[in-house]
Amino acid sequence: MGEVSLIDVSKRFTLRIDGGGQTVQALDRLSFTVHDGEIVALIGPSGCGKTTALRIAMGLETASGGRVIVDGMQVNGCGHDRGMVFQHAELLPWLTALQNVEFGLEMKGVRGQALRDTATRYLTLVGLGDSCNRRPYQLSGGMQQRVGIARALAIDPKVLLMDEPFGALDAQTRETLQGELLEIHKRTKKTILFVTHDLDEAVLLADRVVVMQHGRLQEIVTVPLSRPRDDLAKIRGSDDFAQTRYHIWQALHAGGATVH
């Protein structure tokens, strides 16, 4: 199981500007549910609160109001039931790829041979079976993010939370990794909630797309594309893809803002 619900989640914080304080409503009673095994994309213009929502779901930030429920349990801080993939991978630079994956497992209490075996298995899953001993600076951006995904998957979380996971990569690498994520999803059936600002990516990967505007839910768009989505190039050229993409585009612009 792996079902995540955000219920009336709000977030306010105070910005200090030239001595004065300005209260910002980053999230305003945001509610939506990601069902077990589903991929949901959070999309919206920058500053709309999509990353804040993800960080609250992870437990890295606390909500000013509302709650997050994972499989019936209320989220209170970070937990091994959720795995986070950061925008810039954020590998520990003094550890090898393998050690980075092992680090997460150690925190879960895995020891001994199981530690090495599990870490190796997940690195192989993301296609880095023979780069185990490289350090982050010896890996390209795409490879680093693969290690980041392996680190999050290795602890076997119920839900994978991803913060613009492919946003910092070049177009070609991004497409490759999008395909690989779908492949990983097909094999592991993990629930995935990811933040993106890329319309194509949202439609291509997600079952449903949560469109946000000024901290509020604008619309939830269901993507009519069936799984497995193996031929991504063909999907990109399909009518369903174009229509869903246009629908989301309209939803984004209905709020009066443009996508940055």
């Binding site: 992870m58 890295l60 970070c78 986070m84 520990l92 680090f103 925190m107 680190r151 490759t176």
Partner: protein, 276 residues
Amino acid sequence: MVDIADRRAATGEVPAAAAARRRVPRWVVTVAALVVLLAFWEYFGRDINPIFGSYPSAIFAAFIELVRNGKLVTALLQSIQPFIVGYGMAIVVGVPLGLVIGRFWVAEAALGILVTGGYAMPLVALVPLLVLWFGLGFTVKCAVIFLMSIFPICINTWLGVKSVPKTLIEVGKSLVASDAVILRRIVLPATLPYIMAGIRLAVGRAVVGMVIAEFFTTINGLGAIIITSANNFDTATMFVPIIVLMVLAVGLNSLIGWLERIVAPWQAEIAGRDQN
């Protein structure tokens, strides 16, 4: 797809290429600069009254004499023992203290001002008091060297902790690591380059502290050679321990730099700094 990634990793290895492009090795430039300096000093130094100044060949002759009669080796051994104890203790105490101050706001609020103030403390003025506490012997020398070198180590470690990227700590939090684990396995390694820089900065202060201690407590060691030869207007001999100390500090500095590349090899790679 792995091909693309591999090729990019290969072209990412820039530092080695930058070093190869530079034709003259770094040490050649350093040696040349030293030779020019010494040549000027030798040429103009000879015209100065030997009480008011000296010049390299005279200093070298005095050096040979001090080595021959064994005074230099004895003095060096006397000086180096409190140096090792005081400087070593400063590292052992200063690094954990800096980590704690940087990581926990209560410690920062309580101890931060003391450390910042302590760095500027006019230690020479406090030596008489330290003598009352610790006597004139070995202990007070260690104390002076310790107090001189702990602050740069502690402050640098503290600053290093402050500059650890927030996201790296969040990686630990997201994996449910405890505060202690985050401190030991994320903050400490990420701070290592700053700690090493602090330890390097402290070398100079520890050497100064050592000589101050030898001037104001039991007069022995290299400081004693400086004082006695200055009192005898033997300026050339006076320069010998001064230069020995400077060479010692430079040597220790590069030793620590070498150590840094061993314990924190990723730092040079990230910064793109070249290695020779």
